[in-house]
Every structure is written in structure tokens, then in C-alpha cells.
Symmetry: C3
Subunit: 138 residues, 3 copies
């Protein structure tokens, strides 16, 4: 069986992080499925999804590493194409990836106690993000 749940999250620009674990927990609960996998997918090429201990320090540390890897104020060939300023966003989002798949059994996701599912905005401006949670199970 397949159950699709779409959610919208408003973000405030590059580095803005959202704990979306509860969206996934409630999608699993509403699906009434006992076991399977939940795929979390962010629509668009300038945001990404991963897991982290969701506290401001760890999120800031991750953002600092991304700033070193792909500085926001750096020069990007992507900027030459459209006059955009978000070359750093595309690089960061492609590296981290738009999707994550988490198993669940007996209606419970296999997350650790200090492991949350995070949407990380990479774009340089606020966005409304669509998060698709796709549950496949039985």
C-alpha cells in the first residue's frame, strides 16, 4: 500500500533549518500501516533533507562547513546563466540530496532518540517548500 502526504514549510533563506520529524511521524500514524518505509522528499533543487541532532549548535556547525565548501558570496558559473545569486544553493543542495528513506516497524520510525529529520533551506531567499512524505508498506 502507498500513502502520500504533502506538506508545506515556509523557510527564511540559506541555512534555515526545520525539524520535520513530526510530519513524518504523523504521516506514518495516519497511514495505518504497520511496517514499511517512509521517503521524505523536498521538491526543488535548492533545499535538502538529512538527519541530525536538531539543536542550534549542530545545525550552525553544518552550515559553517557548507559556507566553507560553497561560499554564498563566491563566484559561480550558474550566476552567469540567469543572473541568479544562488550558485552556492545549488551546489549545497546537490551534495546533501533531496531525499531520505526511513524504515518503520510496528508503526514506529527507526530513528534514534537524538536523530531528527531536517529540512535545510539552501536558497538565498525565503521559500515555500513542499515536502512529500511517501509511505510504502503493509
Amino acid at each position: 500500500m502507498v500513502v502520500t502526504r504533502r506538506n508545506e514549510v515556509a523557510t527564511r533563506g540559506q541555512g534555515d533549518a526545520h525539524d520535520v520529524t513530526d510530519l513524518v511521524v504523523s504521516a506514518v500514524a495516519e497511514s495505518q500501516l504497520s511496517g514499511g518505509i517512509a521517503t521524505v522528499f523536498v521538491v526543488g533543487s535548492t533545499a535538502a533533507v538529512t538527519t541530525i541532532e536538531f539543536e542550534p549548535g549542530a545545525v550552525a556547525d553544518l552550515n559553517r562547513v557548507f559556507e566553507a565548501l560553497a561560499p554564498r558570496a563566491g563566484e559561480y558559473r550558474h550566476h552567469l546563466r540567469w543572473g541568479d545569486d544562488n550558485g552556492s544553493s545549488h551546489v549545497r543542495a546537490a551534495l546533501l540530496g533531496p531525499s531520505l528513506t526511513v524504515p518503520f516497524a510496528e508503526r514506529k520510525l527507526a530513528l534514534g532518540a537524538w536523530q531528527q529529520i531536517m529540512l535545510l533551506e539552501m536558497d538565498t531567499r525565503p521559500r515555500r517548500r513542499e515536502i512529500v512524505v511517501q509511505i510504502v508498506g503493509e
Copy 2:
């Protein structure tokens, strides 16, 4: 239901990028399934899959960051083992990862308008890559 589709893509060496979105779109269409997930997996340890706005600038920006992270001409312990020259390929491919899972509903993949599925060759020589698209749905 599960539907498997295998595809072959010829690549031209490190940094060569291919938009494989159409392979996944047509695999979903041929599966006749209405909703589910499509897993895109590249066979081998020196290539990777992600999503990106597939235009030459953004792809070049991503490759430049990989070249800074794991320079092609750098020294790698992997080279000592086999006399290979592709230590940078292994590091880059492991970082980006070989697989991506994309939901679909009403026969339509949940991709953004500017979000394509990309195969990124990391090896230092041309390869024939096998891409497995595995559709699981109903």
C-alpha cells in the same frame, strides 16, 4: 508491485553529467503504477546520483567543489593498492552516493520544474554505466 528497468549510459570520464530524468519518467509510465517510489541506483563505486538544476553552469560549479574537496591529481592511498589513478573518484562517489528515491503519485514524479535527476561520472576514464530504476508501488 515491483517493476525493474535497467538502462545503460555511456560516459566520458570525471565530471561528465547526464540528465537521466526521462529514463525515470518513462519507467514510471511503463510500470502502469499510479503511486509509489522510484529508486534510481548506479551500479559501481565511482559514479553517483543526485538532483540538480541541470544546466552546464550549476554542474560545473558542483564539479569545481568536488575538485577542491578531492583533487583528481591528489595523492590517495587507494592508488598504492592497485596502481589506480582514481582515488578522487572513489571519495567523490562515496560522498554523493549511488542512489536516490523519488516519490510519484497519479503517475507523476514529485520533481520540481527545475529539478532534474543527474548521473555524475566520477571515474577518470569513460565508462558504460548501468542505471537501475526500481519502481515499487500500486
Copy 3:
């Protein structure tokens, strides 16, 4: 159909790598399913999963790049929160990601001959890791 298999792996601290391919191969075999996907998920926010040619040189090369990206002895805001010393672990694990999905068909995983599934410990101390292998197929 869904089959869940949980495994425990004892690790020796940051950079310790384990080839967990056989766990996944045997979970597929025991599931008796012919085709589908196997999701490999590590519970916790300081370890990660990817594929690599599992030989000590390639693993060391990857760890060296992580040490450059997020040095173990660096300063992390995460340390200020709990007095932890594993800020580098959180950054590395979030970047690489906790999960991987591999297709299988005719009971055989779609891995290359030199492509193994690796658990990479990122934490600064030994851990007992739970690896969930979730098989969804038919």
C-alpha cells in the same frame, strides 16, 4: 511485503568502517522475496551509510577528506551545548546521511563487483550501532 531485519555492529570510534554488505545480502535471501528494494538505515546521528570499494586505502582517503572538511579537533558550537567533543561527528554524519536504498531483482542486489555497503562510524568513541535493513518487495 515488508521484512525487517535488525543487526548490531560494534564500532571503535571515528573513521572505523564496516562492510555490511553481507547483512543486506542475507536479509534479502531470508525474505524469500524475488524483487524490490533494501533500505539500509543506521540508527543515530553520528554514523552514516554509503557504498565504496571497501579496501583500506579508499576508506582512509574518504576519512582524510572528512578530517579536512570537519576536523575532529576543530571548534564546534555543538560542544558548547552539552560539553560534547563530537561536533565533527554530527557534521560528517549529516553530510553523508544515515540511509541507502539498493534495488534487488531475481533475489540479487544491484551492486557492482567492487561496490560494498559501508557503515562509517563518525562518533569519537566506540558505539554499538543498530543497522535496520528493511526489505520491501514481492
